[in-house]
Symmetry: C2
Subunit: 412 residues, 2 copies
């Protein structure tokens, strides 16, 4: 059981550090950190907290003996997200504030003069008996506590023993590696979130002129992601189409108001100009090395093609239309039909589905239509969650009142 | 000199790994990797290559004895960027392909049957004598070579000796840590680049309707960054204003064509609507947790204020205008005056400078004006590098030919 013989411990830690550094998904990383810390110290259970400002945020809990007894699923239900202040009164808080390892042989025998206390509520709820405990602060390179590892019940031959003194240093080293890995994963998440935020605004800006709502591009991109999942795409690819489809209509930015905002039907020539938004979108998005932008260009250019070759701008047919395009075509049409616009009411679902079926093999790729129809439950949830409300159509209101644009306000 | 006693080596390596993981700047990281590898193996010199496809790209070289003799600056001039194929004929290529450490006691005595050869050109050029050499592949978690560390002339008491066998394993461990750190730094750079790319397109989309050029926002954002540097801002803050100023005119997306593209002067009411682009920009950019978008909102809303309080939309005065706004005001006006537009020629520099001086304390913050004028040499370089060419004004050409918009093509 003593997998870490002390001599090889540090070499093993090197490999753990490399493994942790290559995980960019924060959730997965935190689970791995706690698992490795428990393995290193032979701890039956443990909890991982992150420090955010003056709060300790509970993130992960693991308990081998309870998992064995109750099963992973029951276990997961028992943990509820919670947070507490960083204070000297809790064991984790004390460790975070002092930035020291707190090695407690038995939590039932903490000396009364200690500022920290053991909170038995979890033991009572879970039917668990905590004895030995070691709290290890995860310190970053500036010596700040990024979080705390709380390890519970060191085991030796199945019996609970106090945590070994030599494990304090090893666990601290692991915790330092963990701290930098956590900061890196958070940096990556923040960079991705900031990028997504910008992409969304580029999409919103395009819809802004078109009097559509931000909810349209939210729903539509989520339908695309749903279809991609249904096609068995990996997490990363699903994310790319979620992001890139947000920009499908960006080319509308280049279409003159008198066409984009014309109340009545378009003339043949006006329609030709309107169709040009696919090509303009391609121009705005071209020339990037980033895969999100490359895919968004594909989507922008192809989201008005039709499976039978009668779409625009290029009249591509069947699988000549890139898969991302075929996905977007369906998601865009479904949302246009099934949701309210300033100038029309939403169509009843049965009617929408009838139209989709009619377009099978003509407008839509049959395989993608099937994947979509198989997921109608999910589709309805997305539709419900991002439904338009009256105020969503009022973006131009202040501007309209400023400009008294009769033509504009007369729009149905 | 033997700083790494073997027993403590792995513990030291842990700390090196943590240090490497926290460097996100690739250039800085590569230098640090080579430095640590040389320190670990007591190497006088070394070179770091990255593998890109089937090429080895030279990235960093260091040589203690030459630096001592010639000085860092002379040293730096001696290294020219180069690349070579990954092949078994070079020492670094052999190591990358076999994914093994190559420990050569003396490069002058490589057995003739070896597939790799020593290339003496650098020695000859630098007046250096390479003897012992160790090439260490930097392998990622999938066992792929991300790059190669080539260490030269192990030293002991000032004499060149072969690299020690026990250093092969240590250097390999360091190289594995280096590989994951390099991949992480590249991921971070790619994420940032992709985000910047999207921001740029949001800016371009706005200018698209306005018939200004992408070069305007490039120049203008670089002027902002130049001023920020002059104010002593840190690298990160300079980057944030560079990025966020790209979006200063994004609110023009919400202004009707008939005003935005009107050939003649605007009426008072039209001007009022036009001024509304600052507020619309604020709306498009609001509500993000990302600092780039938060700052870009500040810039969008305040880039038409004036230092004496006579600007719009809020008539803010002096330091009530956020610093980012005051920077953008100057950069935007300077570029508008000093560059050609479809409807006007560029103004001579002397004339532009006279107008800026006239606006001192009225339109512009005097301190920012001084910082800008102190850097006229740099300003001219930016202006030159991103100057507009005739074709840059033709973005709408295809669309114009489609729509035959007489009013539009009659624009001066």
């Amino acid at each position: 059981m003593d997998r870490f013989s002390f001599a090889a411990d540090f070499e093993e830690l090197l490999n753990v550090g490399i493994a942790l550094s290559s995980i960019h998904d924060l959730e997965k990383l935190l689970n791995m950190i706690l698992l490795e810390a428990r393995r290193l110290t032979q701890a039956d259970a443990g909890t991982l907290y992150l420090v955010k400002g003056d709060r300790l945020i509970f993130r992960v809990s693991q308990c081998q003996s309870l998992s064995d007894r109750l099963g992973e699923d029951r276990m997961r239900q028992m943990y509820q997200s919670f947070e507490m202040p960083v204070s000297r009164e809790s064991i984790a808080g004390y460790s975070a504030l002092t930035r020291k390892v707190l090695n407690i042989p038995d939590v039932k025998e903490i000396p009364p003069e200690a500022s920290y206390h053991y909170n038995p509520s979890w033991d009572q709820k879970a039917g668990y008996a905590s004895h030995s405990m070691m709290a290890v602060p995860m310190l970053n390179r500036d010596g700040e506590a990024v979080g705390v590892l709380q390890l519970i019940n060191a085991l030796s031959d199945g019996r609970v023993i106090p945590f070994r003194i030599e494990h304090e240093k090893l666990a601290s080293s692991l915790a330092s590696q963990a701290a930098v890995a956590i900061e890196n994963a958070e940096l990556t998440e923040n960079l991705k979130q900031a990028h997504l935020d910008t992409i969304f605004r580029l999409g919103v800006a395009a819809e802004y002129r078109d009097k559509e709502t931000a909810n349209h591009i939210k729903r539509m991109s989520r339908y695309c992601a749903l279809i991609a999942e249904g096609l068995g795409w990996g997490k990363e690819e699903v994310e790319v189409i979620l992001w890139s489809s947000l920009m499908h209509d960006v080319g509308k930015l280049g279409i003159p108001d008198r066409i984009l905002q014309k109340p009545g039907p378009l003339t043949a020539e006006e329609r030709k100009i309107m169709e040009y938004h696919t090509t303009i979108g391609g121009n705005i998005l071209k020339g990037s090395a980033a895969s999100v932008l490359q895919k968004s260009r594909v989507v922008a250019v192809t989201h008005h093609e039709k499976f039978d070759g009668t779409g625009y701008p290029r009249g591509l047919k069947g699988e000549k239309i890139p898969l991302e395009g075929r996905i977007t075509i369906l998601a865009d049409v479904f949302d246009a039909l099934s949701s309210k616009r300033v100038y029309k009411e939403a169509m009843p679902e049965a009617e929408v589905l009838r139209i989709l079926q009619e377009g099978r093999g003509a407008h839509f790729d049959p395989r993608i239509l099937d994947v979509f129809l198989d997921r109608l439950g999910e589709v309805r949830k997305i539709k419900e969650r991002h439904s338009d409300r009256e105020g969503d159509f009022d973006k131009f209101r202040d501007l309209d009142s400023l400009e008294n644009d009769k033509e504009d306000s007369s729009r149905p």
